[in-house]
């Protein structure tokens, strides 16, 4: 296990470096740069040069890349002050350090992700399991139909409807927004309730369908039939054997979903005017803000790699037949 983790961690670092390199050089190769954008109209060559110099864009590309990557491990100095490791650079657009900006926005995304995961795992997987357990019953039909309808919704459709009902039309709730839980727990809960529920609703439907089909598939496996033939109760077999097998595809998808959500729930954040990682990514791309885009890309990639490793470990724990090698 330890060897596995070490090997995968080294692989993750190399992958992160490659992602950073590809992002950086693609960005640099793009037809326009931040200096041109900042320079705007009446942009004399001298003025463009001043901006390039102020932002360090006049340095050789390789040096810019090296400065960025080395800053992650040893920090960097900027005219506005020292950026301690892990330094992801300084935003061209806002002038703020990228790492501190990401850390400022991350709690919003983390709340969405964690809150959403609790809802769609408990409700979605639970409903799917019950539907499979009572296959063909009214409960199954209701769960299947509801999940089909809800999974066809999109956040950008459901979000505005929910906002219109609960905020704009009735005034039952204030506008969604993130308040630190340490500052105001109730405000945090209420502020993030609608976005979390809306996002979770879409995922819940998907997890219900996935859990149901996975469980039905497991219930048809030979080892389950054998266990039943040996006289074990249906409930016992369901929770002792079928359940674990059904978890494998769920964990796989969960790992992908959580890592991409932590990398930025873009649509949810934009729909509810939340300032999370997804929003940062969009703003970074729009403003040609290379350090911010690099930072968010690497931050998102970090979670994808971490959840990949965790998913592999979870496989071995769930199914003893799987060996980490």
């Amino acid at each position: 296990m330890l060897q596995f983790i070490i090997r995968r961690t080294v692989g993750a670092v190399v992958t992160l470096f490659l992602i950073g390199a590809v992002t950086f050089f693609l960005f640099v190769a793009a037809p326009s740069d931040y200096a041109s954008l900042a320079c705007g109209k009446d942009c004399s060559p001298q003025r463009l040069e001043d901006i390039r110099q102020a932002l360090g864009l006049n340095l050789p590309i390789t040096q810019q890349f090296w400065d960025f990557m080395s800053g992650i491990f040893v920090g960097r100095d900027f005219p506005t002050g020292h950026c301690t490791a892990p330094c992801l650079g300084q935003s061209f657009y806002s002038g703020e350090m990228v790492w501190s900006t990401i850390m400022d926005r991350f709690p919003t995304t983390l709340t969405l992700t964690a809150g959403g995961a609790v809802v769609f795992l408990v409700v979605g997987v639970g409903a799917g399991m019950i539907a499979a357990y009572r296959r063909g019953s009214v409960v199954d039909k209701v769960a299947t139909s509801a999940s089909m309808v809800l999974s066809s919704f999109q956040i950008y459709l459901l979000g505005p409807i929910v906002l219109w009902i609960f905020v704009y039309s009735t005034g039952w709730m204030e506008n969604p927004g993130y308040v630190p839980i340490t500052q105001d727990p109730w405000g945090w809960f209420v502020g993030m309730l609608l976005p979390t529920l809306v996002m979770a609703t879409i995922f819940t439907a998907q997890y219900t369908r996935m859990a149901r089909s996975s469980m039905i598939e497991q219930l048809a496996e030979e080892h389950v039939r054998t266990a039943r033939a040996k006289g074990m109760s249906r409930k016992y077999v369901f929770f002792r054997y079928a359940w674990r097998g059904a978890l494998i595809p769920i964990v796989t998808v969960l790992g992908i979903d959580l890592s991409s959500m932590l990398g930025g729930a873009v649509v949810t954040e934009l729909t509810f005017s939340l300032q999370g990682i997804g929003r940062l990514a969009v703003d970074g791309a729009i403003h040609k803000d290379l350090p911010m885009t690099m930072g968010v890309m690497l931050f998102g990639a970090f979670f994808i790699l971490i959840f990949n490793i965790l998913t592999d470990i979870a496989y071995a724990w769930i199914d003893p037949r799987v060996r980490l090698s």
Binding site: S36, K41, D42, A54
Partner: protein
């Protein structure tokens, strides 16, 4: 030096402006105006669009006149889509930061406006709007007594000198450059490379501070507009001892009625009262509310929905530089209780189809295009009558010298284009000259403009080749002297209410160079002569010269076809009082607000 799609082009921030709008064209809405009378607005704007006056000491003495019914207390929520470009005054040129600057920073002079649309320049830190001598080459300002910054330090002439000199440093690259150019020429940075941070100063023959209270500017040519120039946010005061250079951009020291409590760019900005601001020294600003709570990242669509709904905390909310989203305009104007919470007015921008005169050399072709264009369909893409009005000439209704009836191409009578006249002009034009290359930015609006322009020109026989250009580098691409395009849409607005900030930057032949704003590359001897003449005249005398220049340009040269005037239309919550359109900022007057029930 003000573009419609400016430094932060993607965010379409609107350059900070000073105008001379009028109550008819810019007002608090009473709930009944449906916008159908825009033509009347233009005509009335023409009558009242007059030159800014320069106030004496009496007009510059605080406090500002009380607003009827104003209450104290409460916090206004401010919705804004994009983060602020800068907070260092020297870097401020566009409207988002410029609006914040109105709350945070003071300058030597400031614009003051009344409910009748009259705009004057008053002394802000100075006792008056400045005293000129030597035919306008020398300007003297005397500082008011005991004006303090947020740290309690008295502002002296050394702070004013420092605020000017620091603009020469290389880390200041985004603000206006008028004053620096006037004082030290185009290569002004060479005159003080370290921006005064090394203890060196501009010579006294350029900028003199003989005592703590006196500041004297010396120019080599008359600068009659200086009081207006110094009222720009980019020339606000940075106290010398508090200057942290690059770091100042995120943590500036306030001199105005509010100061920064917390700031996370792109996310939030909290302003609270600056207790060291003395209303007796300020004839423009108020301090009715306890503070402003800015929330960034709220799209114009969401802002509009929230403010139409007017629920809970949104009763105390305003739009900052954003306007009512185009698709929700009807929801606003059809609901009187919502419509009465709007303000509207002309912005200083004239959108035009600029010709590259190096390529489109045939005057008849340029005139034919001007006749053929369909302003109505172009405006429809901008939100209809609330997004803009047909522009018959190059001067916006906000500009002194604006002539509502000056319409040499009959665009007001035929806003959909005069097809017959265009065809007649093209009768003898060779087919090769009817093939034109049109560049447009790859944005949603750019696409709409492309369709409208292609449609209009093809109707009269042009073969239009449209070329998509990356929106972020649009102005860089069309700004190249040897660009491969025949025509492109540009927008321009005045930096202060004078045609000198319109005609000079975009039609001055001396400014034909890569990256310069003379996108048509026009270099006409008569225009040059008129510009030179007007710049040496006092504003009231110069008005006739600028008028002559515009007429000559539009009728004889045609470097661009005027398309439409842009308009602003903003909404606020029902508990926000004192709302009015500012002819200075072309936005809701941020210094004139209070909460009815705090």
């Amino acid at each position: 030096m003000k573009s419609f799609s400016s430094r932060r082009a993607q965010a379409i921030v609107v350059a900070f402006a000073a105008g001379s709008l009028v109550l008819t064209g810019c007002s608090e809405n009473k709930g009944s105006d449906t916008g159908a009378n825009s033509k009347k607005d233009q005509q009335e704007a023409s009558v009242q669009s007059k030159a800014v006056t320069y106030a004496d000491a009496a007009g510059s003495t605080g406090p500002a006149e009380d607003i009827a019914g104003a209450e104290s207390g409460g916090t206004i929520t401010v919705y804004q889509e994009a983060g602020l470009s800068h907070l260092d005054p020297g870097q401020i040129y566009v409207s988002d930061a410029g609006q914040v600057a109105n709350l945070l920073f003071r300058r030597l002079t400031q614009f003051q406006e009344d409910d009748k649309g009259n705009v004057s320049v008053v002394g802000d830190l100075a006792t008056d709007s400045g005293k000129s001598s030597d035919g306008g080459k020398t300007w003297t300002f005397t500082l008011k007594d005991d004006v303090k910054d947020a740290k309690g330090n008295v502002i002296t002439s050394a702070d004013v000198r420092h605020s000017v000199e620091r603009l020469y440093a290389k880390f200041i690259f985004d603000g206006p450059t008028y004053l620096q150019n006037w004082l030290s020429g185009a290569k002004y940075r060479d005159a003080l490379p370290k921006g005064g941070f090394d203890g060196k100063h501009l010579p006294k023959s350029v900028l003199d501070t003989p005592d703590d209270k006196t500041v004297i500017f010396h120019f080599d040519t008359p600068r009659q507009d200086l009081p207006q120039t110094l009222a720009m946010a980019g020339y606000a005061i940075v106290p010398a001892k508090d200057d942290t250079k690059e770091k100042y951009d995120t943590a500036p020291v306030a001199t105005g009625p509010y100061k920064i409590k917390s700031y996370k760019n792109g996310k939030s900005l909290v302003l609270v009262k600056n207790t060291n601001w003395d209303p007796k020294t300020d004839s423009v600003r108020h301090q009715y509310v306890d503070g402003f709570n800015f929330q960034f990242g709220v799209t114009e669509s969401t802002q509009t929905k929230r403010l139409i709904a007017d629920q809970g905390g949104d009763k105390n909310a305003i739009q900052f530089t954003g306007g009512v989203e185009a698709t929700q305009i009807q929801d606003v104007i059809k609901n009187p209780s919502v419509n009465k919470r709007t303000v509207k007015g002309y912005q200083p921008y004239v959108m035009q189809l600029t010709f590259n005169l190096d390529r489109v050399k045939n005057l008849k072709v340029r005139q034919a295009v001007t006749y053929a264009l369909n302003s109505k369909s172009l405006i429809a893409g901008e939100g209809g009558v609330y997004g803009g009005d047909v522009a018959p000439n190059y001067f916006a209704p906000t500009l002194p010298g604006y002539e509502a009836g000056y319409d040499p191409y009959g665009r007001l009578k035929t806003p959909q284009g005069n097809i017959a006249k265009a065809k007649e002009l093209l009768k003898d034009v060779p087919a090769a000259e009817k093939k034109v290359v049109f560049a447009y930015g790859n944005t949603e609006n750019g696409q709409k403009r492309k369709v409208a322009i292609e449609d209009a020109l093809s109707k009269v026989g042009f073969d239009v080749v449209s070329k998509e250009v990356d929106a972020a580098s649009y102005y860089e691409q069309i700004g190249k002297l040897k660009n491969p395009y025949d025509m492109y849409v540009t927008g321009w607005g005045q930096d202060w209410p004078s045609p000198s900030t319109v005609i000079t930057p975009i039609y001055d032949g001396d400014q034909v160079s890569d990256g310069a704003s003379n996108y048509s590359h026009v270099n006409d001897p008569k225009v040059q002569e008129l510009i030179k003449k007007a710049l040496n005249q006092k504003p009231e005398e110069a008005a006739a010269t600028w008028k002559e220049a515009q007429h000559y340009l539009l009728e004889k040269v045609v470097p661009a076809a005027p398309l439409w005037y842009t308009k602003q239309f903003q909404l606020s919550g029902s508990n926000v009082g004192g709302t009015r359109y500012s002819s200075v900022s072309s936005l809701l007057d941020i210094n004139h607000l209070f909460l009815k029930k705090s």
